[in-house]
Symmetry: C2
Subunit: 478 residues, 2 copies
């Protein structure tokens, strides 16, 4: 068996079976494992380290825009969940119910939070009295539970980790501004940190969040041409405020309802990273989010001075990157495959011959390009390369998205496109639910969003031929 082959051979190619390729990476890159509970997962150290980086960067973005973290209970009494009618209708069918505490039957059953609007509203109704108390800009990092029928690690699981922001404002304008501000933060994070291009837009009535006036979304395209919703931001208007009686006295002493928003992103982003950047050798992580940016693999490490030099390089380069060294007794080829599978952006190989020449070999994970670099240039070269990898990954993903984005004038044309090549399809829509449902029925595609960028003249609806209200992006989605 050739050195280092085993790891690579054991993964299904994405063209052969995309779903299998995905779960192979989840498993072989040691991101997650199945748990004994149906639809739940164990997030392993490497997967959790990615999540910790996501948390750290997003959390700072939230704090920089004035948000504070809190923690709400994980249980919602049934009566509380029922207060906002659209909301309960959307979530009740998929919640887990606690009926017993110890050996006693509870007087009222509790659901494990699928999302926490009702808990935040209950709290806001107690702590908001005057305009001085506004805005409230709260966020929470936690896990939520939705009893899904079919599950896949990171993409759709019965329990997942996320953050949920919940804010209360004095005016409608402020709430709208907040909703869009957070969507823009999400888009910036996806594009700049995860190197995932997204389309920003508004959801249709059919696709919006249960209880929201408007839902905004960022949508991205996976390798297989299916769409993934990466984050959403909801404007609730004063609907929840009325249901939960959250009123404040304004400067004139008059009582008014607050206007609220909520917004969330989840561990699903790890699924997006796999499906946007990965290849048949495994995961490819953008440097900005990679737990390990540079892996040092000594070659012929039993030879005198090799481990010492590799360790010296590690100490030196730790100042400019997140570096690890692997001096285990596995063969170098095995290590190469392992860190390719794990998507480490850069690999540094150093052996006796390199030491003689005072150079090292750098291998990019994205292009697999090999570079011979003098040791004294590493401190400047590595940050440069990491920036370049980050940039190329984004460009590559943008190109892939552009190639898979089509336009259609009719639902038949849309179907034809998607049947041939899955992707985003731009097509005009009249705004009627019946036409949206027909697209679903005929072409198996859902409306992903009405992009913020709209043509001057939207044309006519792809179904009914009436004047279109907006251009819509359609796709088959995860």
């Amino acid at each position: 068996m050739a050195k280092g082959k085993k790891f690579v051979e054991s993964i299904t190619s994405m063209d052969e079976d995309f779903a299998k390729w995905y779960t192979d990476i989840v498993k072989k890159a040691e991101l997650a494992d199945y748990a004994s509970v149906r639809g739940c997962m164990v997030i392993r150290p490497y997967g959790y380290a990615i999540w910790e980086n996501i948390q750290k960067i997003l959390d700072q973005m939230f704090k920089d825009t004035g948000h504070e973290n809190v923690y709400m209970p994980m249980f919602i009494p049934e009566s509380l969940l029922e207060k906002e009618k659209d909301h309960v209708k959307g979530f009740a069918p998929e919640v887990a119910w606690v009926t017993h505490g110890g050996n006693e039957l509870l007087a009222e059953r509790l659901c494990v939070r699928p999302t926490s609007e009702t808990l935040f509203c209950d709290h806001y109704s107690k702590i908001i009295q005057s305009y001085n108390d506004l805005p409230k800009l709260y966020n929470q990092w936690c896990s939520v539970v939705r009893w899904e029928k079919t599950t896949r690690p990171f993409l759709r699981s019965s329990e997942f980790l996320w953050q949920e922001g919940h804010t209360a404002h004095a005016t409608e304008e402020e709430a709208k501004e907040e909703t869009l501000k957070m969507l823009n933060i999400y888009a910036k994070f996806c594009e700049e940190t995860l190197a995932i291009p997204v389309i920003k837009g508004k959801k249709t009535e059919k696709e919006k969040f249960a209880g929201a006036n408007e839902t905004y979304t960022i949508e991205s395209l996976m390798h297989d041409g299916k769409a993934l919703q990466c984050g959403t931001s909801h404007n609730f208007g004063d609907g929840f405020a009325k249901a939960f009686n959250i009123q404040y006295s304004d400067k004139t002493g008059k009582l008014a309802y607050v206007h609220q928003t909520s917004w969330g992103m989840s561990t699903r982003l790890i699924g997006a990273l796999i499906m946007v950047h990965g290849d048949d050798n495994g995961l490819i992580l953008p440097p900005a989010i990679a737990p390990i940016q540079l892996m040092i693999v000594p070659v012929a490490q039993h030879k005198e001075g090799v481990i010492e030099k590799a360790t010296e390089l590690k100490n030196m380069l730790s100042k400019v990157a997140r570096v690890k060294i692997d001096i285990s007794d596995k063969m170098p080829g095995w290590k190469f495959s392992e860190y390719e599978m794990k998507g480490v952006p850069l690999r540094l190989e150093v052996g006796p011959k390199d030491i003689e020449k005072n150079q090292v070999v750098l291998v990019r994970r994205d292009t697999r390009e090999k570079l011979f670099v003098p040791m004294d240039e590493l401190e400047s070269k590595i940050p440069e390369l990491l920036i370049d990898i980050q940039k190329s990954l984004f460009e590559k993903a943008s190109d892939a998205q552009n190639i898979r984005t089509f336009s259609a004038k009719t639902v038949e044309e849309l179907k034809e496109n998607l049947d041939k090549t899955l992707g985003f399809v731009n097509a005009p829509w009249c705004g009627d639910l019946s036409c949206e449902e027909k697209v679903k029925e005929v072409a198996g595609a859902s409306s992903r969003c009405m992009p913020f960028e709209q043509p001057e003249d939207a044309g006519v609806c792809l179904c009914c031929g009436k004047p279109a209200k907006a251009n819509v992006i359609w796709g088959r989605a995860y």
Copy 2:
């Protein structure tokens, strides 16, 4: 009404009613609020910011000692919980049971994790094969649920936040070393960061964790003389490994069971901070954990140049401390009371007269001492003061603990001591459960621990008069 009096007047004095004083601080310092779910709490931004600091510092200590974070599901199938007999006996009476997912009755009910030994074991049994896979040093930050009858915010609630470390080792010695290492990390954290003196020791058989061979603990003493267990570390030996069949092949190829540990600290530490340092004006936070170390309050802020100067100072001092400024339109006296209630270690007052003299007023929260400090000395003076406050708080708490630590030779003497002044009582014990139970029955005290530091001759048991096995610290506990 005198300026700034309202806040102070509204809190119960600790001598009058300690329990009320405690909950007053929780509420008025805006640490937490009651939730609509029995026994659960909402951790508010200020309380959560303390928890974030606890997390940040502890997490770094864990990582520095080679631990990695993971995430396990929040549900445990009943059959999994039942695998280790002592463990299930200890926890089953106080767990919350999920019986329905959506509208369907589950085939097997799931408990919401009260602790995650069984989940880690289940995972370890899948991923540990060889000695190369050991040790596994995992930790998890999450919330757990224990269906408590009587609850108090932070001290005992149906749901609380914590970290739980779970490790697997090749040998008994390594597991023992890990158990003690983590106990020492906990003690160091409590003493150096929270300024809370602790006694390290071993729990008796009666008080140890369900399923453990040995439980080690750090115990601290509250203002009212009651004991609080701040953290525990358990050595499981190979008990769980046998129940879950976690075996590895050693270097000779022979199969052996792993040895395991677990260890945890929780949001209960916030309760300890209140009850060890607080006074009748509210919370007092050690600088090392305080979300705000220095609060700047401009005086006569409507006068020209005051807010500008205060802001300038804020920008300058942000380099050396966690600084905030309050330029809201509340009266300075109100602000003083508010930040005293919140336990901010240092307050800086600056008004027109101070600006003239190029000085500010600094007020220590712990001693309420006022200092007039030239502005150009602030950058060095503030870090000095913060270090001094941290040190004095620890010394004060140590003195308070020493004053309330007694010795007793008999159970009657122990009872007499505790009835007069609650505290720790040192007394020798023969090691028999019946004597331990008698102390509980007669004096209402439980064994807190057998301290690591033991006298050469322990003497005779406080109950039966037989030779003592160890000196035990007894107390009435939260």
